[in-house]
């Protein structure tokens, strides 16, 4: 039945949170991964609206948005005084804060949590920076295993064009810490190419559901809805997939 969210048994990626009851996490954790500039936030906004029309409760969460750490992370970024270890620890602290204060309570209350990026973003960034991967995997051992990871996969030129168009290119986005002496554009290309390669590996290792993000917004959205509906065991009718503004202009399901 559409709108219904049946519970799944949650597991941790590693050693977990021994003091947290993981038996009663009724909701679903759905992760949207993908490089900067693939249009994650637009897609998540549309997904949220769609899921709510279906009658499911939705909570959104992002990467590095917790009350506890945002300020510290911004400060540290400005000062560039972080090394790989402190950089990763700061992000992990921020994530743990959100996990325990937002994600877990939402799952306990039966919400679908839409996560705009997840630990895989940290893994990919760290792999690019050659941080010890074993250490990092242990570090994020407290993270919950997502029920579904949707990976918006785009070509490097698509990504780079969107980042440049957004006007948000900065030191970190361009991976300047990796490429001293490069100009920002060359550094950006090089960094994003490496990130994509690492994301590709992570996708294989963790069974990401791949979504081709080189297409228009509606086609991507339709694929995302289909993947989520299938995951939740909902029937794939036009009623379920296209209840709102998408109904008119979207491609017919049979041929999409």
């Amino acid at each position: 039945m559409s709108g219904e969210v049946t519970s799944t048994k949650k597991r941790f990626l590693g050693l977990g949170l021994p003091y947290v009851d993981q038996e009663h996490l009724l909701g679903r954790l759905i992760v949207i991964e993908g490089s900067d500039g693939v249009g994650r936030s637009t897609q998540i906004r549309m997904l949220r609206n769609w899921l709510e029309v279906q009658g499911a409760g939705v909570v959104e969460t992002g990467w590095t948005r917790s009350q506890l750490m945002s300020h510290t992370i911004d400060l540290a970024k400005e000062g560039h005084k972080m090394n790989n270890v402190t950089f990763n620890l700061l992000y992990a602290t921020d994530f743990a804060d959100r996990l325990e204060h937002e994600l877990i309570p939402a799952l306990r209350a039966g919400f679908i949590v839409l996560a705009d990026r997840y630990v895989y973003t940290a893994f990919a960034r760290a792999r690019v920076r050659d941080t010890a991967t074993k250490w990092l995997q242990n570090l994020y051992g407290f993270a919950l295993q997502p029920d579904l990871v949707l990976y918006l996969k785009a070509r490097v030129d698509t990504i780079v064009n969107r980042i440049l168009a957004s006007g948000e290119l900065d030191y970190w986005e361009a991976g300047m810490d990796q490429n001293p002496g490069f100009d920002p554009y060359d550094s950006l290309m090089r960094y994003q190419r490496k990130l994509l390669r690492e994301f590709g590996k992570l996708a294989k290792e963790n069974n990401f559901h791949l979504i081709n993000a080189n297409r228009n917004i509606k086609s991507i959205q339709l694929d995302l809805r289909r993947a989520i509906a299938t995951h939740l065991g909902w029937t794939l009718t036009d009623d379920v997939l296209l209840p709102n503004e998408m109904a008119g202009g979207a491609p017919a399901l049979a041929t999409a």
Partner: protein, 240 residues
């Protein structure tokens, strides 16, 4: 990153003091520092929680009681990493004696007592370097409580482990929580070769033993000449 169990290769020496609040470890560290300096040695003292990077966050979060066992552990590890990088390793490279008031073992004891996986927190700190000596000042909870109470009016929230909810009464909570911290220290004593000190002894008796142990460890410590040459050789080698 298994440096915490392998000896470091810096020309300096790292001396760590560990123990629960009120164990007298800071007093012992201070007296040791005075003695070493009086012998003309270059000593650098560093203590937990002194790095600027996370100081304000820790303070703010502690005020709001927002910290969970995991974020508490991660914040302190971030602070530790920052401190290790800027306050511990550079003086060791320069051939100095570094005295650290609390080290990774504090986290292993305290965070495990709060309920995080002991193995997780050990892995977390696997980038830390192995001390040349780690003194553990072992003291019964009641003595520590009496010492703290005579020094200041109130126990601190996290020091008493009030976040664990072991007891609503702050003194009782301190007893239960620090009792578990002591148990965790005992568990890691053989694991990391901690030098156990009877912290119920008088200050001077303890200090005599501390100095004797430090002196023995410093037998192969040559702050001038030899060490500098060795450092240069090592640095040269690492670029090959």
């Amino acid at each position: 990153m298994q440096q915490l169990t392998n000896p470091h290769e810096y020309p300096g020496k790292l001396i760590v003091v560990e123990g629960i609040d009120g164990s007298g470890k800071s007093t012992q560290a201070f007296l040791l520092q005075q003695w070493l300096q009086s012998k003309g040695l270059r000593v650098f003292f560093t203590e937990w929680n002194s790095s600027l990077l996370v100081k304000s966050t820790t303070k703010q979060a502690k005020k709001k009681n927002r910290l969970t066992p995991t974020t508490f552990s991660l914040l302190h590890c971030t602070d530790f990493a920052d401190r290790l990088m800027y306050r511990v390793i550079p003086p060791l490279k320069a051939g100095m004696i570094v005295i650290a008031d609390r080290y990774a073992f504090t986290a292993f004891a305290r965070d495990s007592a709060r309920g995080v996986e002991p193995q997780w927190v050990r892995q977390l700190y696997s980038f830390a370097i192995k001390p040349d000596i780690a003194f553990y000042f072992r003291v019964p909870v009641d003595i520590s409580l009496a010492r703290i109470s005579s020094a200041r009016a109130q126990l601190k929230y996290y020091e008493a482990g009030m976040d664990t909810g072991l007891s609503k009464d702050i003194n009782e909570c301190f007893r239960l929580f620090q009792g578990e911290v002591i148990r965790q220290y005992d568990l890691m004593t053989p694991e990391f070769g901690l030098q156990v000190m009877d912290a119920t002894e008088t200050i001077d008796v303890q200090q005599k033993r501390v100095r004797a142990i430090a002196q023995e460890m410093l037998a192969d410590y040559h702050p001038d000449g030899n060490n500098r040459k060795q450092t240069r050789a090592r640095e040269g080698g690492s670029h090959v």
